[in-house]
């Protein structure tokens, strides 16, 4: 499932972007060292293949709902981790830009969740050691199944973590986990079957294709586990460090946001500029009594219901609503105005 911009805080989004950029730079450096020119068009066309294959649906046995191929694992198996990571990143970029699946800031998270795990974690640490040199179809099915499930569980868990760290959703950790993990177990099983079946089909129909790609890619077989692990550990440390630094700059995110909502705790820059003017206006208008929508009788009730929300003035929220309506109206007016002006021109 794709992460969305709206659920993300800047700290989490930028951290994941930093991680993704680091891995992407590493992948393209590695790939450039030993790339065969032939691989470049192949990578591009295989990325397009992932899209095209998503157009062909199938009925999931027993349910009647339809599924399609996700892609990370099959790319890693065919192209090796570095090329697969770049292909996956490009596929997700196009999805973010054209289908608006996710968003540009969440793209870092999505590439991490759907590209990093299959290519740099599950493929070298799970798929490679388990499959060995075997070409036995049954073994391919079993190993693909385990790998795809692992990939999707890791990805889903990351989505949960990223959402929670961002703090935009109120879902408690456990409930969110229970919502995400089982769905992705089912998706993972299907993905594993499909991945294995495609590999087996291609191997039986045109074995030279898989061997040919493997031969033109000397880096896949020789990838050292140690290096991958070291990179991962370094990344984890960096990520953790950056995250905790961000966390400590806003020790209490909730209080900070409450201040924002209620309009208290204003920023020091507002001493000059347009703010004092607006503040002046606010002060001039604020002495007018009962301009809020709040019936006076509700006051004690409110106090009782929300002791955690001190200093709430219905007046501020009323001003906010009126202001929002006016601004929205103005924006619409500008839009319609320009459009009709243009229409007359044409």
């Amino acid at each position: 499932m794709h992460m969305a911009d709206a659920l993300l805080s800047p700290a989490v989004g930028m951290t994941l972007w930093a991680g993704t950029a680091a891995v992407g730079g590493y992948a393209s450096k590695k790939l450039k060292e030993r790339i065969d020119d032939r691989t470049i068009p192949l990578m591009g066309v295989l990325g397009a293949f992932i899209f095209a294959s998503q157009m062909i649906n199938f009925t999931i046995p027993g349910t009647g709902s339809s599924g399609h191929l996700g892609g990370g694992m099959i790319l890693a198996i065919i192209l090796g981790p570095h090329a697969a990571f770049l292909v996956m990143a490009s596929v997700l970029t196009v999805q973010a830009l054209f289908f608006a699946d996710g968003g540009l800031l969440a793209l870092g998270c999505n590439i991490w969740n759907l590209g990093f795990y299959p290519c740099y974690l599950v493929y070298p640490l799970l798929y490679k050691p388990l499959i060995g040199e075997s070409q036995n179809p049954g073994r391919i099915v079993a190993v693909s199944l385990v790998s795809a499930v692992a990939v999707l569980q890791l990805g889903a868990f990351s989505v949960v973590l990223e959402t929670l760290l961002s703090g935009k959703s109120e879902l408690p950790f456990g409930a969110f986990l229970l919502l995400m993990q089982p769905i992705h177990l089912a998706i993972g099983i299907i993905e594993g079957f499909v991945t294995a079946a495609i590999i087996n089909h291609v191997r039986s129909a045109r074995p030279e294709i898989l061997d040919g790609i493997a031969a033109s890619r000397p880096l896949g077989a020789g990838i050292s586990l140690k290096k991958v692990m070291i990179t991962f550990v370094v990344l984890a440390v960096v990520t953790g460090g950056v995250l905790s630094w961000f966390a400590s700059t806003h020790p209490n995110g909730l209080e900070w946001s409450i201040e924002k909502v209620t309009g208290k705790g204003e920023l020091p820059e507002q001493e000059h500029g347009t703010a004092p003017v607006l503040k002046g206006i606010q002060e001039k208008t604020a002495f007018l009594p009962d301009y809020g929508f709040k019936p006076a009788g509700n006051e004690p009730k409110k106090e009782k219901m929300a002791p955690a929300w001190p200093g709430i003035e219905a007046g501020t929220s009323a001003a906010g609503i009126i202001g929002a309506a006016i601004v929205l109206g103005l924006i619409l007016l500008i839009g319609v105005g320009i459009r009709s002006f243009r229409g007359r021109d044409a």
Partner: protein, 269 residues
Amino acid sequence: MTFDAQYFDIGRLDRLSYRDTFVHHLDPRVKVIATMLFLFTVISFPKYEVVALVPFFLFPVLLMTLGEIPVRFILRKVLLVSPFAILIGVFNPFLDTGTVAIIAGIPISAGSLSFLSILLKFTLTISAALLLIATTSFPGVCHALRRLGLPSLFVSQLLFLYRYIFVLMEEAMRITRARDMRSFGTRGAGIKVFVRLIGTLFVRTVDRAERIYYAMLSRGFQGDIPSLRRARIAVTDLAYLTAMVMFLAVFRFYRVTEGIGCLAQGLLR
């Protein structure tokens, strides 16, 4: 939505990017930077912020009108991808029940504020990303990203992918059409047939990559796709960027919306 429709939608976004307007003529680099700044500003608002987000709709509205992008097309795409954000956010009103305000006698819970905030941010960020493509074209964005420092290998990858999506999607459409014509009811829709179809598509794809590679070699391919268009940052580009930064700064740090609201209340009295 069927995938046929999705395919034609990609084509439509692509066609929109070849229009001839002021927005389309801006330098792609500037547009990429402006969009990223916009997205960053929007998601930097705390989770309960609703009112201050409203003025930011000016940016997509201006892009849509000045760039002559159909509003309904963008709105439909935004709606299409909304389920995930809604699914995650819809629990907020039930979980975060503290009352923050009482408006016209109806108590407003903190959770519904944060849910509304998620919805606004979602609409803003998604439409900004879509409008970037609709006003810049995908190759334009790719070359801009290369000039901004993205590895050229990855840029080539993006450009190849984009070029062949159209080709392979047509191929996949032909394959599904052939399957649909030969199967009735649920027959032929199962996983077995699916795997064979995908396998066939895969084999064809690899063969095609081979042919593309030879065709490119004979045209002097050296592992990179350069852009022939010379890009220069003009005065209008700088002006656009400056206006954008000022707009974002003013509406991020000053509570303009509430100021206008107070002013209106004052005038009404």
